[in-house]
Subunit: 114 residues, 2 copies
DNA sequence: TATTGTTTTGCAACATAGTTGCATTAACTT
DNA sequence: AAGTTAATGCAACTATGTTGCAAAACAATA
């Protein structure tokens, strides 16, 4: 599982992960491993527009302290989800303490651009 | 339902809406009305960190053409979700066409700040 | 090696969000 | 009033995600 994440450039949905490991391990086990890897700061999770949970390896997260200020991009056509290596400025909001930001962009990816 | 959204400053989750209307109408009906109101551009929807669908009235959306560039804020403590009336600049990404952006901030709201 | 204790896994059952098909009711039209 | 269309209720269903518990795997110690 670790190796998979290291080799995979894109984010993977839980559905896909459960599917890929379905004859190696149980659904619950997949969920539990993902939970553990996330707690250890090796991967991070976020929700897609479809409501599914997606996981990707952490480039910029250290253990326990995720700062996912980078946006995720989901292609409307092929459904692929990427972590974009850009940072987006979040303005501070009056009387609000902002602890994390999740940015999900939707559109067309390079390949589906034709 | 319309009146509720006009009076309610915050976003409402589907769970809350189904609950509030449960002796006025059926679950399916709530979903269907929400879908219709969204298509008509009266409300817009987005996903919370909890994976639930949230709805809020549209201040800046015209029929059929939503431009939800404003962020939503979900309080870690009380769970309340607000639409924040600020716009966040999304940089253009090479070889990607960005059609919509969903920004979900998490933190502490004014009231839970103490 | 045998014994004990801890962690991980499989399995089944469960909870909940959301969808769908279909029959019934309500609303609208002429 | 009759006929058409749209909205609703209901039940069944799908799918994601969670949980309790027993079996298995692993580690450590005597």
């Amino acid at each position: 599982m670790l190796r998979l994440f290291q080799e995979e450039p894109n984010a993977l949905s839980v559905v896909e992960l459960v599917e890929r490991f379905k004859d190696k391990m149980n659904k619950s086990t997949v969920y539990r491993i993902l939970e553990r890897l996330e707690n250890e700061g090796i991967i991070h999770s976020f929700r897609g527009n479809d409501g599914l949970t997606w996981y990707a390896k952490c480039a910029d997260c250290s253990s326990g302290h995720h700062h996912d200020r980078h946006p995720h991009f989901q292609c409307r056509e092929c459904g692929k989800v990427e972590c974009l290596p850009v940072s987006i400025a979040i303005p501070s909001i009056e009387k609000h303490t902002i602890e994390s930001a999740q940015i999900l962009l939707t559109g067309q990816c390079a390949e589906c651009q034709g």
